[in-house]
């Protein structure tokens, strides 16, 4: 099953990359852009047919490796 893990910096952690992109968008002529935050997507192809089990497995992977909970939050979405 296809699973999408989304990892974002925690709110409150400074996101210099987002800030730089916001700045670049302004100079490129998009003044109406405010807050920009950058995150990561990890798309996985996980064996299994049980949605809940796959969801659980992907959450384990996120907690173990894909996200650093000191600075990041994650969400898991089983796409089927």
């Amino acid at each position: 099953m296809k699973v999408r893990v989304t990892v974002m910096l925690k709110e409150g952690v400074l996101d210099p990359q987002g800030k730089a992109i916001g700045h670049a968008l302004h100079t490129l002529g998009f003044p109406g852009v405010n807050d920009v935050r950058v995150g990561k997507i990890i798309d996985l192809d996980v064996e299994g047919t049980d949605r809940a089990a796959v969801q659980k497995q992907a959450e384990d992977m996120a907690r173990d490796l894909l996200a650093n909970l000191v600075i990041e939050d994650f969400t898991v979405e089983v796409l089927g």
Binding site: V13, L14, P16, Q17, A20, D64, L65, L66, N68, V70, I71
Partner: protein, 233 residues
């Protein structure tokens, strides 16, 4: 002092570290491949710089899950001494052996330049050859050296004196929002920290690359000389 240098796939400053250790001990450190699990007879474990696993996902994240890390954790629990430099520091934070995390440099670029470090604490095996407030020069070379931690962790680090080194101007002045002296934007200009028992030290810059007058100077030498003295058997 018997030192082990841990080599992960993508580690690239293990040879620099070996040169520094050889210089102060007179013998070859042991190179330990990340799949090995034997640290018997070792006094100091060094996690050197580089790009373990290509620095993909997050710097140090995948190395922190290598087989050898289980052994290193138990080595730490038994009171063993560990030095993590650059990628080694990132691995120590990713594995939870040191608190906090290292984010992308504030200017979002890889930085390769000299910096100055102010010594903040001297009653540790890593720093006792210096006086408190001493400033020394050392190269840094990293893309993700911007130290951060949540407020309570920071309060604890500062309160318990667990900051080993801070980025500073050559005259010792520390100013976190000054890119000249704190190039990667680290919070409180933190360049290196200690574990609670002061036996684990992680730092971003590379003192091992400044141990030879021919190669730019010997400013990094006191760290290694100090370790040999402290860990003599």
């Amino acid at each position: 002092m018997k030192a082990a240098i841990v080599v992960f796939p993508g580690t690239n400053r293990e040879r620099d570290m070996a040169i520094a250790l050889r210089r102060v001990t007179g013998h070859e450190p042991r190179m330990v491949w990340h799949r090995d699990t034997d640290l018997t007879g070792i006094d100091l474990v060094v996690l050197p710089g580089g790009f373990s696993y290509g620095d993909y996902l997050r710097c140090g994240a995948m190395a922190a899950h290598s087989p050898i890390m289980t052994e290193i954790r138990s080595f730490a629990q038994k009171g063993g001494h560990i030095l993590g430099v650059c990628n080694g520091f990132q691995i120590l934070t990713e594995s939870g052996l040191l608190p906090g995390a290292l984010l992308r440099n504030a200017n979002l670029r890889f930085l390769s330049q000299d910096c100055h470090l102010r010594v903040e604490r001297t009653d540790t095996p890593f720093t006792h050859k210096w006086q408190k407030g001493d400033v020394f020069r050392t190269p840094l070379a990293h893309g993700d050296g911007n130290y951060t931690a949540d407020q309570s962790t920071l309060d604890r680090l500062e309160g318990e004196g667990l900051v080993a080194f801070r980025y500073a101007a050559p005259n010792g002045h520390v100013q976190a929002d000054d890119v000249a002296s704190n190039p990667n934007g680290s919070v409180n200009s933190i360049a290196g920290i200690l574990s609670e028992n002061t036996r684990i030290c992680g730092m971003m810059p590379h003192p091992e690359d400044l141990v030879d007058p021919l190669i730019g100077g010997v400013d990094g030498l006191p760290l290694f000389e100090g370790l040999v003295e402290a860990l003599v058997r």
